[in-house]
């Protein structure tokens, strides 16, 4: 059946689409800019002031420098490992924590929740955290990147609220059928809150993908360095001034490339995430209570 829509509704639609369309362009353009700049000639990148619509002189120089660095493959591998282990570990901890805090009959619920939320606003600072991590023996190991930041309080609270919205009747019917808490958590709560879980997983995954600071202070061995740290080093080494003024084959790794390398490293680190996002997106669009009996 074709609904006839009033003029006002159609006008609203048009304005809506225009506004959101403009906003989307504004959001996407910087990424497009980086993409175009990364394929340009180094000299043009430096001297250009203005918007890009296409690469200024096609060249793969920037990517060559980035991928020629022997540490880059290592960086990708490390980041992937950290991401997989880290995200699964984080999700496990967060779901268990959120489930526990969402139960009404938890002893000391108020106090525990207060302490948990308190950490969201106040922290010990860099040095106490460093001393704790070091004292526990995590220095120079992969777990220093995973364990200390295993639970993000914000995500925990979001998930806890999500669990609290699940109707109690689902819970009770499970208990009647003889389920214990673990079964309820893994068989009922998680499948029902798929959307929230997906969002939080994505948050954790992206934060692991982007992390470099924890690695820089806790890791000593260079072969454990994650991708972002390697990219950062590439960037720094290409902006270091050439002290001897010698013109030879290796001199191009100097000031001119600095800007270009910046754009190439942005693309190199963003593209994998961009590729994964569409697969997760369907969970955001559907509602929270998909696939369960309501009432």
């Amino acid at each position: 059946m074709i609904e006839s829509r009033s003029f006002a509704e159609r006008l609203f639609d048009i304005i809506n689409v225009m506004l959101i369309g403009t906003l989307s362009l504004v959001f996407i353009y910087p990424l497009y800019y980086c993409l175009m700049a990364s394929f340009s000639e180094p000299a043009n990148v430096l001297s250009n002031i203005g918007l890009y619509w296409r690469p200024l002189g096609f060249s793969l120089d920037g990517y060559k420098v980035v991928f020629n660095n022997p540490n880059i493959i290592n960086g990708y591998i490390n980041t992937t490992i950290n991401l997989v282990i880290g995200t699964s570990f984080c999700m496990l901890m967060t779901t268990i924590g959120a489930y526990a805090l969402s139960r009404r009959n938890l002893y000391f619920k108020r106090i525990i929740t207060f302490f948990v939320v308190f950490t969201m606003y106040f922290g010990g600072g860099l040095i106490p955290t460093y001393l704790v991590v070091k004292g526990v023996g995590l220095y120079n190991s992969r777990w220093a990147l995973i364990l200390p930041s295993a639970i993000s309080t914000w995500n925990l609270i979001v998930l806890k609220t999500g669990f609290q919205r699940v109707p109690l009747s689902l819970n009770e019917s499970a208990v009647i059928d003889g389920a214990n808490d673990f079964t309820i958590l893994f068989r009922i709560m998680i499948p029902v809150s798929k959307a929230t879980i997906a969002v939080i997983t994505l948050f954790y995954a992206v934060s692991y993908w982007n992390s470099w600071f924890a690695a820089s202070i806790y890791l000593r061995e260079r072969k454990l360095y994650p991708l972002q740290l390697v990219l950062r080093e590439i960037l720094i080494s290409n902006t270091v001034a050439n002290t001897s003024g010698v013109i030879d084959a290796n001199m191009s790794e100097s000031s001119l490339m600095g800007e270009l390398i910046r754009y190439c490293s942005i693309i190199v680190s963003t593209v994998p995430i961009l590729c994964i996002y569409p697969f997760v997106q369907k969970y955001f669009v559907k509602g929270i209570m998909m696939g369960s009996i309501k009432g």
């Binding site: 000299a43 040095i127 080093e233 050439n242 010698v246 013109i247 030879d248 084959a249 001199m251 000031s255």
Partner: protein, 551 residues
Amino acid sequence: MKKMIKVLSFTLALALLFSACSAENKVDDPNAGTADQVADNTKTATTSPTGEGTTVTYPFEGETVTLTYWTSLHPNAASYISSYAENEAWQKVMKDTNVNIEFEHPAAGQEKTTLSLLISSGDMPDIIQYGSFSSTYSGGMEAAINEGVIVDLTKYLPDYAPDYWPLVKNNILFQTPDGRYAAFYKVIDPEKADSNWRKMVTRKDFLTEAGIKGPDTLAELEAYFQWVIDNKKDVVPFTLPIASSSCWPLLTGIFDVIDNWYVDLDGKVQWGRAAGENYLEYLTTMRKWYEKGYISKDWTTMVEADYKAAYASGKIAMILGSGADLRTLAASAGFEAQTLPYIKRDENSMYHADIITSPNQGDSTVITTSCKNVEVAVKFLNYAYTKEGYMTYNYGVEGLSWNYDAKGNPVYTDHMLKPEEFGTENANYIYRIHFAPKYLIADRLSHPSLLSDPESLEFKAQWDNDPKVDSVLRLPVGVQLTSDESAKRSSIMTDISTYAMEMQARYINGEIPLSTYESEYLATIKSMKFEEAREITQAAYDRYMANASKK
């Protein structure tokens, strides 16, 4: 209710129990090791510790001691090696001294944070090599010694560093303000040092087209600027560097003003930007240049990267900066760079330079109190000042990277000059030890990049022997302030410097007429207690002169 109390007390008890089982606190007693070590080390010292005349033999006898050495891995080397343990020269040094060095490298760019964390955690490496140590640790080296973080080297140097000690004995440049020795530094003989790297750099093709030979005087420079305006559309002749640049003396020097503290020909201490008439002349000329369009209209908003980029893309004809760096920049952009000599006021004037080569070239290296073998560490660091040691540090492995020629001078082999996988700029950090506390041999004699390319050597050394350059105005290197004086002076001068740079911009841009120079500018500076600062410096200078005449 009763149940609640029971549960509560049980939880509390558990918590108390767990807090009692805390990890053992390892508090390092800084003096613990030394008593034993003295006994151990008598086999390595050849004569009794009485000051001069002691010698240390290398390699050390006995077991190989392991020392942890914290330093940053230069980005040029980081692409090829993962630690200096793979650097050939370091390997040779380790073998020659019979000391095993474990390198710890922080992530690039994070040196300061990582160092602060290391120090606060108490578990420090034995040796820390970090040039900015005294500015990272609050209170500087003095505070670091007083707070038990680093070892006071004063009593160790005469006995265990017989090659380093004579270089720094009684030299305040290597001491902390209260006269103690806290670190090993890179030492150079000022007579044999490199020339100044700050230059005015322009394009060779422009100069050839204009038919000008390296403008020498102010008038010639202005003629060159005018030529650029007349003949090159869309090219700005010149721009001024950022406020914090160290290249300002290149400009102020034309008018007999050094952009810093200096002493004028009457023996009176002056500060460049308050130097009465001469500074006014400088401002007037800059204002004239700005009006005529010689100076870019955007000069106040450009940062270094901007004007370097503009130079590379041909939009600005001349900038101030590092000659070597701009040469490679120009080459990648496709033209040849050309440096200018120091500009003099007119044909008969001298240019008074401010170049001071201090024998102390930085790279401060300290021994921390976590080190259990302080004598071994001191002796190890001393190796870099022995003849054998400094040849390895500066040139690399003998026989592999270099050999002595017939006249007894070191000559690089192809291994160093033509390495296959990486250029000489990188080999510099992989085959020899560039940044380290050592007896330094100037770059023009030891940097493989320069020596592999005679053109760049020539480029760097051009204008070095200009007879019309002298340094009569600069403050002698030995003029030193006490830490109180220094603190007082810097608290006055910080505000004055900021004001001076701001006013410079406003005068040059024409916002304020130069007629207010005396009434507003000088008067304000005076009211900011400038005379006090000048008196402090004058007193230090007089002190130095009195001492110098006594010797």
